[in-house]
Symmetry: C2
């Protein structure tokens, strides 16, 4: 089964993916902080039953550490979900385009994601799943505040809409701080791909709405689109500047990354992400004259994460072994 | 005309080349410090006439800066020769195996060089040229001191015998200082390839005799052979240790060098020498599984020097242009 990561659209522009997440709580159950394990189990069973025709149930608590890590690396689950000790449920579709975390910070977290720039379609998808659930469930809802959530920052629409964007040139040329400031002014935020406070890897960022209340879903999404397109424009402008003012040194850096991915015998995750970012930029800028690998760059970035490498090798790997396995995997991808 | 640099023997062992240099002065002329320009010219003419059947005369003073630099890079002339302002002469054979500097620090400097480990044959060659000259020339010679020279460090045999050796692992593992100490104890010296005080480039060194007096030529050469073979043994031992204890990280470094030479768009001389040294070591250690280029690694090292790059491009190049030309040349060598 091919996942969205492998769709060509994930590689064509700075926008890797579009994502919508809805936070919902079920009225008859207490919120996470006070729900009992028994209530949790009941809530998970009810929700699963309602969606069983559309989703696969993942027995999350029975997964190995490597499998859990894999789900985290691919953004199917959140870091918070891993930490929660109460019973948890996970529903997903095989292409990883829709997933539902049950008993994360909120009872229900619906996530829809797709490759490239198409937030309207994922908003539509998330909405449909939401409607499906609401047919038989009464959500915790207040006519003044909107959907009630564990954390007040999600109350209102319960919506987090985001774009995952690749901004190598903005980061390299030290423009990132001014981008952050600009984005914040419009009630948006930009951060590393592995959630709040995480270090950006491979120059990939998530731009998302901060504010969930006092605005309609449509307004939130259209603001996000506008801000993101300004950020992308700025990235493109800096790429063009590099091409006209520093063509050879820009190409040099990209080609050296290509050579390293093709020949290294050991690569840390951080270094590999840096080179893959460089290569992705090279293709975007049409400065790298080499056949594109069969997988998208973003798919490769996901594949070299520790959890996935361990799943490939079928066992736990220490850091040295992972670096060797990662280099081996990448040589296979970038070989002649 | 192929030069000795391109002979396969230059690549097979840590010994790149064997070299003998004889310093001689002609009795009837004053030494360099006091010789007049007219006497210099006469001396050059006489010497050239005596050897015209065997050597090509190079009108050195009419050469361009790039051509002079080229001769220096290939060790046909010495840095000192370039600095001397009195009339100078240069005789050489096309394969660059024998050359004679006239009016360097001494009137005559005969140099014989060959690829690989064969100092006996170059000693024999230098000796023959010496005999040829001596047939019609009376050298400055003292029955107690031997051949008299400008600088007392050359008096006696006037012989400097040397091996050019590639010692990447000794230098990388920080063994170099102890090698230097050991070599000095036996009246030998080890230094970078571009003469006294020069920085070692590409981990290439020259091991040569310090002492020229009180020992026969045969003794000097046999001591040099013994010391050099001990140094080589030590290099080989450290290479074997790296293979058994750090095989992957050693291979990683070598293959990364290969990737960089193959893809970089700009390379400084220092960086390129480092990578070429790495590759040469990779072939020596049989750890680099890639077809050998048509040229020897040492030939490539010579070819990427500034003087040669400028001769290839047919014009003076600034540093940025040279780095680009160097990368271009190397991509041509290491392409699929």
């Amino acid at each position: 089964m091919k996942t969205w990561h492998s769709e060509a659209k994930a590689d064509e522009t700075p926008i890797i993916s579009s994502r919508v997440r809805l936070a919902r709580n079920i009225k008859k159950y207490p919120f996470l902080s006070r729900i009992t394990p028994e209530q949790s189990k009941m809530m998970i069973r009810e929700t699963t039953d309602r969606l069983s025709n559309h989703f696969e149930f993942i027995a999350f608590d029975q997964k190995s550490d490597a499998e859990k890590r894999f789900l985290l690396e691919r953004h199917i689950i959140s870091p918070e979900f891993l930490k929660i000790t109460k019973p948890k449920g996970l529903l997903m579709q095989r292409d990883e385009k829709i997933s539902i975390m049950i008993n994360e910070e909120d009872h229900i977290r619906i996530q829809a994601i797709c490759a490239g720039d198409d937030i309207d379609s994922v908003w539509d998808t998330a909405n449909k799943v939401d409607d499906l659930l609401e047919e038989n469930t009464e959500y915790a809802f207040d006519k003044d505040y909107g959907y009630l959530t564990s954390c007040p920052t999600n109350t209102g629409t319960g919506l987090r809409a985001s774009f995952m964007v690749h901004l190598p040139m903005l980061e390299r040329t030290g423009q990132f701080k001014s981008v952050l400031t600009a984005v914040s002014k419009f009630g948006m935020t930009i951060r590393g791909i592995y959630g709040e406070g995480s270090e950006p890897m491979g120059h990939i960022f998530q731009i998302s709405n901060q504010i969930t209340m006092g605005k309609s879903e449509e307004d939130i999404i259209s603001s996000l689109k506008r801000i993101t397109s300004q950020v992308i424009e700025s990235e493109t402008r800096f790429q063009e500047k590099a091409l006209s003012e520093r063509r050879i040194s820009t190409a040099d850096r990209i080609y050296r990354s290509f050579g390293t991915l093709r020949y290294a015998r050991s690569l840390s995750g951080k270094e590999a992400m840096e080179h893959l970012s460089s290569i992705r930029m090279g293709y975007m800028m049409k400065i790298l004259d080499a056949p594109k690998p069969d997988l998208t760059l973003y798919q490769i970035m996901m594949d070299i994460q520790p959890g996935n490498l361990q799943l490939i090798k079928g066992r736990e790997l220490n850091e040295i072994e992972r670096d060797i396995a990662r280099a081996e995997y990448l040589r296979g991808i970038f070989k002649d």
